[in-house]
């Protein structure tokens, strides 16, 4: 994985001391809150319902064991013993004291981490495929380009005061695990007919109050031109993006208003100018330098393992079927560690669990952990023969829930339990649903079903792209929940359609039960929930759901 050079380390260290000075000036009264707020947001520090919240960047979701140990240490020392993994592959601490933040940031910097680009109107922390470097269908490791984009975007003076926040995702697989087309920019690496890897650039996707699927604007961009092309997009956005209305300031609104064709033309003009300047053309030597950090680990030459005997152990086979994916190297496997125990808080991990996963990564997965946008963790390179031992250790720690991709593998934002922007609770709804569907055998019978919950229209819980989406709304101080169907964040991206009037908190599990039962009654052999929905449409679900209302 990438290691800081002297310039990276100095930049982060200097930023920590700069922000420490700003905090001191805030506490002494030299800075007002109005003056301080944009500064703290540039350093990932929010003020939420109960306390400050520090959002730590995990670039493209990759962590070393040492880094995860440090996150556990911070959770114990300065927070309340846990952290929350987010839908942008970051980690949030919910209880830091303002006065402690400099020490926390120094601790992060000591392991090459920071909280920059996790807030504010800048290019945010780049996200990527959590199976990068292990997926059988990828054309190269997308983290190489994620890191190149990170280096280009960090502290870029032209893009530090954008009209709004800006999110970029990168994938190199035909199977999209990044929700690529609901990002401001989605970069998809593919193999061209000539055998070179080229870049398709999707622009203007996003969720929030105006969900839009991105448009293909750049088709087959050459590697050396990628940054020039991205810079051209940013310049068009910076010039024409609205700054007068926060709700219309994202690039998706600009693309929607001028049309994908006009956007493509404007970017092409800007692209020629940026390219001609030559200042962001990437030399092959630099690409090679970054790529060297992402060379595959020293895989052994192994046969695929016969696990029939191990699968006789109760519980192992179910976990093996749901939480273990095929690796590109024979004899290895990709393991998803579910952070969604029955009745648990999606994405939360205790300091002890973080320490354990860090140790397991050292022992079983070349010292590397991934964070997924679905709020789980991944050990990407596990020898198949080690799977039973790994499963036993995860089981002891409550981390072996065999529900990856099933109905209880719910994405949920922090919602009104923590978030200052939320209108309704998300976590409690997730807990009620996962408890209702606690029977794993039933979950497996239902099959793949992605349920996603947001506590407000900002859609941090990705409800627009849930097979079942749940949006919390406030009606005169009381929480209600609006259900939608048919969303998807994969390579066949679609936005959910609202079913009808919202439900009260206590009614939601029954409503989900009705939707699931309807699907079971309608599905053909081999159909997932989404397949059945796409075949029959929303009406049968709507009729069943509101029949008793």
């Amino acid at each position: 994985m990438y290691r800081y050079d002297e310039f990276d380390q100095r930049a982060v260290d200097e930023r920590v001391e700069q922000f420490a000075g700003q905090i001191a000036r805030r506490l002494s009264g030299e800075l007002t809150e109005d003056e301080f707020k944009p500064l703290r947001l540039m350093n990932g520090l929010y003020l939420q319902l109960h306390a400050y919240m520090l959002r730590v960047a995990i670039p493209y979701g990759t962590l070393s064991s040492r880094q995860l140990h440090m996150l556990a240490h911070i959770a114990r020392t300065w927070d309340k013993g846990y952290g929350h993994f987010t839908t942008r592959q970051n980690l949030q601490f919910n209880w830091p004291r303002l006065a402690d933040v400099p020490e926390i940031l120094r601790a992060l910097a000591s392991v090459e981490m920071h909280a920059i680009q996790t807030s504010g109107n800048c290019i945010r922390n780049v996200t990527s495929d959590h199976f990068a470097g292990a997926a059988a269908d990828e054309v190269e490791d997308p983290r190489i380009w994620s890191e190149i984009i990170r280096q280009w975007s960090t502290f870029h003076p032209e893009f530090s005061y954008l009209p709004r926040k800006f999110k970029i995702a990168v994938t190199a697989s035909s199977r999209d695990r990044t929700a690529l087309r609901v990002h401001d920019i989605g970069v998809a690496i593919r193999r061209s007919d000539s055998g070179r890897n080229v870049f398709d650039v999707w622009v203007g996707g996003g969720q929030g109050r105006t969900p839009i699927i991105g448009h293909l604007v750049g088709d087959g961009i050459a590697a050396e031109d990628l940054l020039a092309y991205l810079e051209a997009i940013m310049r068009v956005y910076n010039q024409h993006g609205r700054r007068d209305n926060i709700y219309k300031a994202r690039i998706k609104i600009l693309v929607h208003q001028i049309g994908a064709g006009d956007m493509r033309r404007q970017v092409a003009v800007e692209f020629e100018q940026v390219k001609a300047s030559g200042h962001v053309t990437i030399p092959q030597a630099e690409i090679d330098r970054i790529a060297a950090y992402f060379q595959p680990p020293a895989f052994e030459t192994l046969p695929d393992e016969d696990l029939r005997e191990a699968r006789r152990v109760p519980g192992f086979a179910a976990w093996h079927d749901t939480n273990v994916a095929r690796h590109k190297v024979p004899g290895y496997a990709i393991v998803t560690i579910s952070l969604k125990p029955v009745g648990g808080i999606p994405g939360d991990a205790s300091a002890d669990q973080m320490d354990l996963v860090a140790e397991l990564a050292k022992a079983f997965s070349f010292d590397e952990i991934r964070v997924t946008h679905e709020q789980n963790l991944v050990l990407a390179h596990v020898r198949q023969r080690d799977l039973p031992a790994l499963w036993r250790k995860l089981t002891v720690a409550g981390l072996a829930t065999a529900n990856h991709g099933l109905i209880s593998d719910i994405i949920a934002c922090p919602g009104l339990d923590y978030c200052d922007l939320a209108n309704a609770r998300s976590i409690s709804i997730a807990q009620a649903i996962s408890t209702r569907f606690a029977d794993l055998e039933r979950q497996r019978m239902i099959g793949e079903l992605k349920l996603k919950i947001s506590g407000c229209i900002n859609a941090c819980g990705h409800h627009h792209v849930g097979h079942i989406g749940i949006l919390g709304v406030d009606k005169k101080g009381v929480e209600f929940y609006q259900l939608s169907l048919g969303g998807s964040g994969d390579e066949s991206t679609s936005l959910g359609e609202i079913l009808g009037p919202a439900f009260g908190e206590a009614e939601v599990p029954d409503a989900i039960e009705t939707l699931v039962d309807t699907y079971i009654s309608l599905r053909h052999d081999g159909e997932r929930f989404l397949d059945t929905y796409r075949r029959v449409g929303i009406q049968p679900f709507r009729e069943k759901l509101y029949a008793s209302h």
Partner: protein, 97 residues
């Protein structure tokens, strides 16, 4: 309409309420209740002054109901702020109760 003045304490973000003594306290039950609009506007001025003195951040009024000797916020948001996360009863003010 009964109202209470609340904010977050600057140094640690803790939810606080303006008490009858003029101090900022952590417990809603010890908060001062404003019954009239002029009183509430006066309270906001106290909040602004406390912000200027670096004690608190973002003071605002919210509605409460008097239930026996206790105060209960009308909106869910303030119920959660007063207690802590509803999904982690071991955290926030409720943990010490």
């Amino acid at each position: 309409m009964l109202q209470v003045l609340t904010a977050n304490r600057l140094i640690d973000g803790t939810v606080v309420y303006l008490a009858p003594s003029g101090a900022w306290v952590e417990s809603l039950s010890k908060a001062r209740v404003f019954e009239s609009k002029p009183d509430a506007e006066t309270a906001l001025a106290v909040g602004t002054e406390a912000e200027r003195r670096q004690l608190i951040v973002h003071a605002y009024l919210f509605e409460v109901l008097q239930a026996h000797d206790d105060l209960r916020p009308v909106r869910q948001r303030e119920i959660i702020r007063a207690a802590g996360p509803s999904v982690r009863r071991d955290l926030g003010k409720q943990a010490a109760a």
